[in-house]
């Protein structure tokens, strides 16, 4: 068990949950990132503005974090560029096909007790664990 950080994980998780709760209470919407981003790929509509603003907030978060006088936590992207492209294609396509990702199904959907989100989250967690098992321990990628 390397680098186990339960406190910051719980605090950060609560911040993510607060964000999802606020979005529901204020805008009446699910904070599902793949759905919000996917909606931006459709022709402009009255929804385009808030979708773009949400994405802008996500993108600018590291600058706000640094602006609070804290140094950014370490980030390691280990995947090679071909692997990043393959993974990105699968994540984008799969999230749209399955109607959600870690945020929409995992955080919001389970919070709502949605059977669809529970099934989706159980599936992508299990498949991701298997993928890491194969990639790291069987293929050695």
């Amino acid at each position: 068990m390397d680098g186990f950080t339960p406190v910051s994980a719980l605090v950060g998780g609560a911040m993510i949950g607060t964000s999802a709760a606020l979005f529901l209470l204020l805008n009446g919407r699910i904070a599902g990132i793949s759905g919000i981003l996917g909606g931006l790929l459709a022709p402009p509509s009255p929804e385009t503005g808030w979708r773009a603003a949400f994405v802008a907030g996500l993108v600018l978060a590291p600058l706000a974090y640094a602006g609070l006088g804290r140094s950014l936590p370490p980030v390691t992207v280990g995947a090679s560029f071909p692997l990043l492209i393959l993974a990105g294609l699968l994540v984008g396509f799969g999230a749209r096909l399955g109607g959600g990702c870690t945020s929409g199904h995992g955080v919001c959907g389970i919070g709502r007790g949605s059977p669809r989100s529970l099934a989706a989250t159980g599936t992508f967690m299990a498949v991701a664990v298997l993928t890491v098992l194969v990639a790291r321990h069987l293929v050695g990628a």
Partner: protein, 148 residues
């Protein structure tokens, strides 16, 4: 305008939560998924914290009825499982397990690890566009806004 401002603030808080929790670090995500290796269970705590607060918020939102800035709550009504849901989640899981990146963290890393995050996000958007090209995507498109 108020809707847009609150969406920005909520997106910002979401991104800060990803950074604080460690969820924005692909190495940490992969260490969580690597249950037979040197397992780091931290992300279970991220999920627990996030789901607990989001569940409380959902109940509060249901009780209030009308959201502050919108006419109604726009949440998915479907409860049945279908092949598309499971297949999509499985494809998503393979991609997530390959790089340790999912949509939120990928967007938040655009300014932190630009070359890798841009590569992933461009591919992810391409994957989303490929989904839109599917003829079978059409019936679901009408209710897209209501998906999780």
């Amino acid at each position: 305008m108020a809707k847009t401002t609150s969406a920005f603030a909520v997106g910002l808080l979401f991104g800060l939560g990803l950074l604080v929790s460690g969820m924005a670090d692909p190495a940490k995500v992969l260490a969580f998924l690597d249950v037979t290796g040197r397992w780091d269970p931290s992300l279970a705590f991220v999920m627990a914290g996030a789901v607990a607060v989001s569940a409380a918020g959902y109940r509060l939102a249901l009780r209030r009825g009308r959201p502050v800035l919108a006419l109604r709550l726009d949440v998915p009504a479907r409860r049945d499982l279908d092949g598309r849901l499971i297949a999509g989640a499985a494809v998503f899981g393979i991609g997530w397990g390959l790089a340790g990146l999912c949509p939120g963290p990928a967007l938040t890393l655009l300014t932190v690890a630009p070359t890798q995050a841009v590569t992933f996000v461009v591919a992810m958007v391409a994957g989303m566009l490929m989904f839109r090209l599917l003829p079978s995507a059409a019936p679901e498109r009408a209710v897209q806004g209501a998906e999780a």
